[in-house]
């Protein structure tokens, strides 16, 4: 399978990365080289093989359903590009 210019533009949109046509032009052959290379996995017989989900076998732990931290609003906001009145501030979404 190979990625077309339009598909690449769609992937960039899904990934939320602004890309010019020139950038996409450069990227498409690189993506296709990498995708063509990883496609050699198709030749491996994986019939009946379960996909690996945990590299070291262990049970996921459960914890009690209670708040274990909190009251650190200022810490959470400390690195925000813009914070107002104790909230993250973003460009206006609704006109």
């Amino acid at each position: 399978m190979s990625v077309s210019h339009d598909q690449a533009r769609h992937i960039a949109k899904l990934a939320r990365i602004a890309m010019s046509d020139e950038e996409l032009e450069r990227l498409v052959p690189e993506l296709n080289a990498i995708i063509g290379w990883v496609e050699q996995l198709a030749e491996v017989n994986t019939d009946g093989v379960e996909p690996l989900t945990a590299v070291i076998d262990q049970k996921l732990r459960l914890r009690d359903d209670k708040v274990t931290d909190g009251n650190i609003r200022d810490d959470v906001l400390a690195n925000a590009p813009e914070a107002q009145h104790g909230f993250f501030a973003v460009p206006k979404v609704i006109e």
């Binding site: 945990a54 590299v55 262990q58 925000a80």
Partner: protein, 487 residues
């Protein structure tokens, strides 16, 4: 002997024995760091941090932790409270965490101070340190009779260069697909990636969460054991942290390998690899035989599929992990756009470098509707087969020996094709996919005077055999070469 040329074990013992104060150690290193800026190894220097830890160690003399009096370099991927943590990326410029990663908190608890943050490939994506927003680290090593700038490897290139250039006695690294071991090999030092889950990932900037693992880089096997003991341990804040006691790796170090079987995987014998590297591998087998081990041929049949498997899984996880950089909560925000969606896209376009964008694009593609099963699920199935290969191999051997990397260090700018760059990790990636402990130990110099590493892979949780085999090689290789100071 100057303080900066001593190992961590020597510094620790000398400090405990009263030969010198922690302050003297910290001052010697702070001066060395300031005198080596040409290497571009540190992104931030924190001399006052090293001095404060030294003051505490001096005050507690004899009663301090296992690393009292030892200042360390910290890879920029570890969150350090109040100190810039940028993962080598423009998108995190100026990010000062309000918390400390578990691994660095453990090191501090053991008494270690911090010399500064170490340069790295952006988000740990790279094998040459050239993708860092701060520019590449220069290796202290040069080819004989040449002044071409060489890479220290990557992504933990700042860590490798710093330890090798004697501007840190040891450093933290992280390894997703070889990022501790390949730079350790290029810089003529030791580095170990423990079993997945030994070191908490909490507070380490995420790249590919099912693969990311922290580990130490230092000049000797013993120093790696000392550091790993302090770094490892159960952490409830990481859901994949192993709830197991930390073994006493240093106390149990032994280069006597009697009764141990060393697996030699035939699939790692690649013709295109320089003859010197295969010759060093043969020499390594002889060294381990001399230490009492028996070599056995093993087969890891899916080896050739490890890299393509990795380059589906790692970008897929990265594309998901890096979705958090949205210009809202931390890091860069691009202004001057009209909508929220445009702000996301503009911020990520300006904040990520070319390699990171490439991997996010690949990851987004293999996870997108209609392609998920063909790529991502398929890769997870092949990953299961790679894991099975190792499980089967460890029925007939106790540790596996291979070369660390298919070449010695190369020049900055010499490898421009992304696929050619990925091949650097051909020997390192299979152990990452299987979550196994693996270590690089210097074996010798190539014909141009550059270090080459030997790679040891152990069974799950068996760091001890890896370290012991590493020690056996270290004792026999007698690797004492150091780069001549030109910086």
């Amino acid at each position: 002997m100057t303080l900066t040329s001593k190992t961590i074990a020597e510094l620790r013992d000398g400090f405990r024995g009263g030969e010198y104060s922690a302050r003297e150690i910290a001052e010697a290193y702070n001066a060395a760091v300031a005198g080596a800026r040409l290497l571009n190894a540190y992104t931030v220097e924190t001399p006052e941090d090293a001095l404060a830890a030294a003051a505490a160690a001096d005050a507690a003399r004899g009663q301090g932790g296992s690393l009292a009096g030892i200042p360390l370099g910290i890879k920029d991927l570890f969150a350090t409270k109040g100190v810039d943590t940028t993962a080598g990326s423009h998108i995190l410029k100026g990010f000062k965490p309000t918390y400390e990663s578990t691994v660095t908190a453990n090191l501090r608890k053991a008494g270690a101070g911090m010399l500064g943050k170490l340069n790295m490939d952006e988000f740990a994506m790279g094998s040459s340190n050239e993708t860092s927003t701060y520019g590449p680290v220069l290796s202290p090593w040069r080819r004989q009779g040449s002044n071409v700038g060489l890479t220290p490897g990557g992504s933990s290139g700042g860590s490798a260069a710093a330890v090798s250039a004697l501007i840190a006695p040891g450093a933290t690294g992280t390894d997703t697909g070889g990022s501790i071991r390949q730079p350790a090999a290029f810089a003529g030092i030791c580095g170990i990636k423990p079993t997945y889950g030994r070191c908490s990932r909490w507070g380490i900037v995420s790249f590919a969460s099912s693969l990311d693992q922290a580990g130490p880089m230092a000049r000797t096997v013993r120093d790696c054991a000392i550091l790993l003991e302090a770094m490892a341990g159960f952490d409830p804040k990481d859901s994949t942290s192993l709830d197991l006691p930390v073994p006493q790796w240093e106390a149990k170090l032994s280069s006597d390998l009697k009764g141990k079987r060393v697996g030699i995987p035939k699939e790692y014998r690649i013709d295109s690899v320089p003859a010197e590297i295969n010759a060093l591998w043969d020499q390594g087998i002889e060294w381990l035989k001399d230490a009492g081990a028996t070599p056995v041929e093993i087969s890891l049949p899916h080896t050739k599929y490890a890299l393509p498997t990795y380059y589906i899984i790692a970008p897929a996880e990265a594309s998901s992990n890096l979705a958090r950089y949205d210009g809202v909560r931390y890091g860069l925000r691009e202004e001057g756009v009209k909508t929220l969606d445009d702000m996301y896209a503009a911020t990520r376009a300006a904040g990520f470098g070319a390699e990171v964008k490439r991997r996010i694009m690949i990851g987004t593609y293999v996870l997108s509707a209609g392609f998920y099963d063909a790529y991502f699920t398929k890769a997870q199935r092949v990953r299961a087969l790679i894991k099975q290969d190792f499980a089967k191999a460890f029925e007939s051997c106790d540790v596996i020996l291979t070369p660390t990397a298919p070449s010695a260090a190369f020049g900055i700018g010499e490898t421009t094709d992304p696929l050619a760059m990925y091949l650097n990790d051909v020997f390192a990636v299979p152990a990452s996919l299987a979550g196994l402990p693996a270590m690089s130990v210097p074996g010798g110099l190539d014909g141009q005077g550059l270090p080459l590493g030997l790679h040891l892979i152990g069974n799950e949780l068996d760091e001890q055999t890896v370290l012991n085999a590493g020690l056996a090689i270290e004792e026999r290789a007698g690797f004492t070469a150091r780069p001549e100071k030109w910086w």
